[in-house]
């Protein structure tokens, strides 16, 4: 198992490592950080925003969302089971790219939603299962 250590170190999620704008964590080898292949977007109505406020914009929101999907910008789309918004996986390589896409939507333009952006990519720890020859 000793051979795994460099890879394992590389993928440790370290809360103490500050997030930089570029998405790389200082102190971690570059092998630790996945290439961002998509951005997870979690949208919930802002506190104080009523269901009726959201519903007033929903017809336009639906059409704009489907257009983004048809343009290939939205890879996956879900409603939250708790009724508190939506979850998208957006075809973007950076948080800013995803933000630029999402901010074209009517609910975002009306400032009715809180939005969390999480860039994601391949599950790098799996490299450890590849054996000693698995150099990137």
């Amino acid at each position: 198992m000793k051979f795994m250590i460099p890879f394992l170190v590389a993928m440790v999620p370290l809360a103490s490592v500050a997030q930089s704008q570029s998405g790389t964590a200082p102190g971690l080898p570059s092998v630790a950080i996945p290439k961002t292949t998509e951005v997870l977007v979690i949208q919930t109505p802002r506190q104080g925003v009523t269901f009726q406020q959201v519903m007033a914009v929903i017809p336009a929101e639906i059409r704009a969302t489907v257009n983004l999907y048809l343009d290939g910008k939205i890879r996956e789309w879900y409603s939250r089971g708790d009724g508190k918004g939506v979850v998208f996986l957006v075809d973007a390589n950076t948080e800013d790219e995803a933000r630029n896409i999402m901010e074209t939507l009517p609910l975002a333009k009306e400032h009715l939603m809180d939005t969390e952006y999480i860039p994601v990519g391949p599950l790098m720890p799996l490299r450890a299962l590849m054996g000693p020859g698995a150099q990137p």
């Binding site: 999620p13 979690i42 879900y78």
Partner: protein
């Protein structure tokens, strides 16, 4: 699962859940050494969950702070049980966030009905 309500309701309707989004991040104060100790076991256990069909999608976070899974389960309780069996979680080293997800319900308006007519 609740029946769809009419548009007069003030509460957002509950939606069908077909999976659970799980956000895993290291707890504040947890050291690299603490995590490293359990990482080999964590990787193997994660792969087994995938092979069992419990993990539908898996991602590493681009900021290096953890992982994101979409689990094949119908509710958060079931997801919690699955994740609790992973070594880093059973050692209490991770923060977890669980979000049940399912079909994008508003798309139903494209089939017609009140919301579609409003558009």
């Amino acid at each position: 699962m609740e029946q769809p309500r009419n548009k007069e309701v003030v509460e957002p309707p509950k939606n069908l859940a077909t999976g659970v989004l799980v956000l895993l991040t290291a707890k504040q104060g947890v050291t690299r050494e603490q995590v490293m100790k359990f990482m080999p076991a964590e990787i193997r256990a994660t792969m087994r969950l995938y092979l069992d069909g419990a993990i539908q999608q898996w991602y590493a976070r681009g900021d290096g702070k953890g992982a994101v899974f979409i689990l094949n389960c119908k509710d958060v309780t079931e997801a919690e049980t699955i994740v609790a069996g992973l070594p880093l979680s059973s050692e209490n080293l991770l923060d977890h966030q669980y979000i049940p997800i399912g079909p994008l319900a508003p798309l139903g308006a494209l089939l017609g009905g009140p919301a579609a007519r409003a558009a």
